[in-house]
């Protein structure tokens, strides 16, 4: 799950506004607009895909200071123009950004046991190193 609509629960379909580059051909018949094609690639198509990917990555990598807080659901939602394609809502949250309201000290304390288990595993692993071949 990467994005979540806080209004309808949609997790899959979204709208985003991006800029694309089109080619304008000035002819005797008038103006013709089409995809900008260079020798070996379609610049409009590639640009559109790249811009969409960049925009989505940017939305997903926002910090909490760049987002707005929704007190009802206790989650942050994006301030950037990303819309739910189902209900049109602008309140799109990033589920991974639902930070717990714990201090760092409390969080470390809570996870101490898990961390110690990892340490134990590492020690066990260190003690069981494979025996090197000896002549």
């Amino acid at each position: 799950m990467r994005l979540l609509c806080l209004c309808c629960g949609n997790r899959r379909y979204f709208d985003v506004d991006i800029e694309s580059l089109k080619q304008l051909n000035s002819d005797t018949e008038g103006l013709i607009i089409e995809n900008a094609r260079f020798e070996d690639f379609d610049f409009t198509e590639d640009g559109l895909r790249d811009n969409l990917q960049n925009q989505v990555d940017y939305i997903l990598n926002q910090t909490s200071s760049q987002m707005l807080f929704d007190s009802a659901t206790e989650s942050y939602y994006s301030a950037i123009e990303v819309l739910c394609a189902k209900c049109g809502s602008r309140r799109i949250a990033i589920p991974s950004k639902t930070f717990k309201k714990l201090s760092l000290e409390q969080e470390l304390e809570q996870n101490r046991e898990e961390f110690q288990n990892i340490r134990k595993e590492r020690k066990n692993h260190e003690n069981n190193l494979p025996v090197l071949w000896q002549p």
């Binding site: 990467r2 994005l3 997790r11 899959r12 379909y13 979204f14 709208d15 985003v16 506004d17 991006i18 800029e19 694309s20 580059l21 089109k22 080619q23 304008l24 051909n25 000035s26 002819d27 103006l31 607009i33 900008a36 559109l48 895909r49 969409l52 990917q53 989505v56 394609a85």
Partner: protein, 89 residues
């Protein structure tokens, strides 16, 4: 109407930025698929508003800024009206 590149004189191929609304979906494997693209701007309005807004039509050949002449026969009309005015005098 005529569009001319101010740098190289090209009058055929130009590039124009247009905002679109892209509907997409997240696939199970984490990739993105595009479902629909809707144009948000009118090309006609954008061309007519050239100079008023910050966007620029650029030449496809050299990347230079293009100039739009909405009525290329305007100066001929001006000469004609001046000639008629002189005749009237």
């Amino acid at each position: 109407m005529k569009i001319i590149c101010q740098s190289c004189g090209n009058h055929k191929n130009f590039l124009i930025p247009l905002w679109v609304r892209c509907t997409f979906k997240f696939n199970e494997d984490g990739t993105i698929s595009i479902l629909h693209i809707r144009q948000l701007e009118s090309l006609e309005d954008k061309i007519v508003d050239q100079g008023k807004t910050s966007f620029a039509i650029t030449c496809k050949e050299c990347g230079g800024e293009a100039r739009i002449i909405l009525n290329q026969y305007e100066h001929l009309d001006e000469h004609k009206s001046q000639a008629l005015a002189l005749e009237g005098l």
